[in-house]
């Protein structure tokens, strides 16, 4: 990133709990151990870019839990989607899921999330951050992507282009996603079912679990009925998004975007991606139930969700 004096954008006044620059993710580099990263909630991410007419993969900010505060150095437009936060522009309430024109000197504040956990703040044209291994997504554990591989800090400059005027739009309220604290999540039962007795499998699908404090972009550790696999470990193998590992303590871990690429715990199944995003929008204490589905069912859901996204119109302002 050329940090010469001509670079303009947004200044970070307060970074919030965990705010990261991200695009859709880093793919094709699992072979050297790089994880995929990317937005925990790709749907909210995509809406943000779409509302501004950005490239689908434009870099924006994922703010976990909120508390982010920025100051604009130029004229542009922004939108905030995802987890519900009190959005203020120059201290005045502003609507989420709606683009807002911004003037140099404007101050943007995101409060703390009241529903959901991750909000997405996009700017017209996206933030101009160099890609590393093909992506701008920040993986703090790997020190790769974003600004120097790290989460935002106060004083950081987020470069972007100035836009004198930019077409603005809004997503109608009835089309916006909602974020619940008690959810059913779909799981494709795994090919490692034989490590779990019938009773253990039934226990897993009929018990309520709670999101524990140990939840982050790498994985969500749940607490609830113990599931005992018949082995402590397996020969290490590749792990996909949503894989549900069960370590020796019997408490399942759902693996998210920043998961390690290979691991050796037995897996009871794999959560469908739409529901991994819903889980990733949960805070500790959220209540979870699992529902078994076939991969064909999962594929159908995914195609319908994509079709819904493509066919839902945004309204020009």
């Amino acid at each position: 990133m050329s940090a010469d004096n001509s670079t303009r954008g947004f200044t970070v006044l307060k970074p919030g709990i965990l705010s990261l620059i991200t695009d859709l993710g880093r793919f094709g580099h699992h072979r050297i151990g790089l994880t995929s990263g990317g937005p925990v909630d790709p749907t909210a991410f995509r809406w943000a870019n779409r509302l501004l007419g950005n490239d689908e993969n434009a870099s924006l900010l994922e703010a976990s839990i909120g508390g982010l505060s920025l100051e604009a150095q130029l004229d542009t437009a922004i939108v905030v989607t995802g987890a519900t936060v009190a959005l203020k522009i120059n201290g005045l309430d502003a609507e989420m899921w709606r683009c807002h024109a911004i003037k140099a000197g404007d101050k943007i504040d995101l409060g703390f999330a009241s529903e959901g956990c991750r909000s997405y703040l996009a700017v017209a044209g996206g933030f101009k951050v160099d890609a590393e291994f093909g992506s701008s997504t920040t993986v703090v554990r790997e020190s790769i992507g974003g600004l120097n591989g790290d989460k935002l800090s106060a004083g950081d400059l987020l470069p972007c282009d100035a836009r004198a005027s930019h077409p603005l739009s809004v997503l109608p309220e009835e089309s916006r996603p909602t974020y619940a604290k008690e959810i059913n999540l779909k799981v494709i039962p795994g090919y490692q079912q034989h490590y779990f007795s019938r009773f253990q499998q039934r226990q897993f699908f009929s018990s309520e679990y709670e999101v524990s404090d140990r939840c982050d972009r790498m994985g969500y550790r749940l607490t609830g009925a113990e599931i005992k696999p018949s082995v402590d470990g397996i020969l290490s193998e590749g792990i996909c998004l949503g894989a549900i590992q069960v370590p020796a303590d019997g408490q399942p871990i759902v693996l998210l975007n920043d998961r390690q690429t290979i691991g050796g715990y037995p897996k009871i199944g794999s959560m469908v991606s739409l529901d991994v995003a819903r889980l990733g929008q949960c805070m500790p204490g959220a209540k979870i139930n699992f529902e078994p589905v076939t991969i064909d069912h999962a594929h159908n859901d995914l195609c319908l969700a994509e079709s819904y996204f493509q066919r839902t119109n945004v309204v020009s302002l």
């Binding site: 793919f27 094709g28 580099h29 699992h30 072979r31 050297i32 151990g33 790089l34 995929s36 590393e132 291994f133 554990r141 790997e142 020190s143 790769i144 494709i188 795994g190 090919y191 020969l235 290490s236 193998e237 590749g238 792990i239 996909c240 998004l241 949503g242 894989a243 390690q260 690429t261 290979i262 691991g263 794999s270 959560m271 469908v272 991606s273 991969i295 064909d296 999962a298 594929h299 995914l302 195609c303 994509e306």
Partner: protein
């Protein structure tokens, strides 16, 4: 060869059930073949000891189509081990000592071998790179002589320094960056195992072989190694 659904957008192919050079060679052949044939359907590949995870784009194809493509592509897989000889042999310098490898004493106590014996046995092996994962540039090497195989620490360390050479069961590895870790530390390697700004980013890849060579404290420092990274 068995193919299973691993998730909504992933299939996993098993070539066997254990750590064996022959199986690893098949995994590598499959990586090459599938990189060529799956084209835009492919999102990522994760080769490991005896398996290959194939991540595909579920909006372009379903698991049945990918399964078919995999079966067709892998017909060309050769069971002859010509692939095994293709990997490079890389020699990595290691400063073995109680100062740089605090767990040498524990291994010595448990096995009855002297520290010098453990160091000698670790250098005798030529280790195959079976997998890369856990962290960027972390190469799983196998297998160490059974005499020095060591179970993971009961309580993992919060901080293992960059370059630490460790043993876990019959695997050995060099930590590419400071990280938590539960492997038994026996020395320090001055070479960078992962450098995002270099090309290639790693000195080794899966299928290569690694030999370790003892160097003195002076040589280690001259090669750019540092002893400042505290082991916590």
């Amino acid at each position: 060869m068995n193919i299973h659904v691993a998730g909504e957008n992933a299939l996993i192919i098993y070539f066997g059930e254990k750590t064996e050079p022959k199986i690893s060679a098949q995994v590598q052949q499959a990586v090459d073949l599938l990189s060529l044939t799956l084209k835009h359907h492919l999102i990522d590949l994760v080769p490991s000891y005896a398996s290959l995870l194939v991540v595909f784009n579920p909006l372009l194809c379903d698991h049945l189509a990918v399964r078919k493509m995999i079966r067709e592509a892998l017909q060309a897989i050769s069971l002859e081990n010509d692939r095994l000889s293709e990997g490079k042999v890389i020699e990595l310098p290691v400063y073995y000592s109680l100062e740089s490898g605090p767990d040498l004493a524990i291994i010595s106590e448990r096995t009855g071998l002297s520290v010098d014996d453990i160091i000698a046995i670790h250098q005798q092996g030529e280790y195959l790179v079976y997998a890369i994962g856990f962290a960027p540039g972390f190469a799983y090497l196998g297998e160490v002589d059974e005499r020095i195989a060591s179970p993971r620490l009961a309580t993992p360390r919060m901080k293992v320094p960059r370059g630490a050479v460790g043993i876990a069961d019959r695997q050995t590895a060099v930590y590419p960056a400071v990280s938590p870790g539960g492997w038994n530390l026996i020395g320090l390697c001055p070479e960078r195992m992962f450098n995002p700004d270099a090309e290639p980013t790693m000195p080794v890849q899966v299928g290569d072989r690694v030999k370790f060579k003892a160097v003195s404290r002076e040589q280690f420092l001259a090669l750019g190694g540092t002893l400042e990274g505290e082991i916590a």
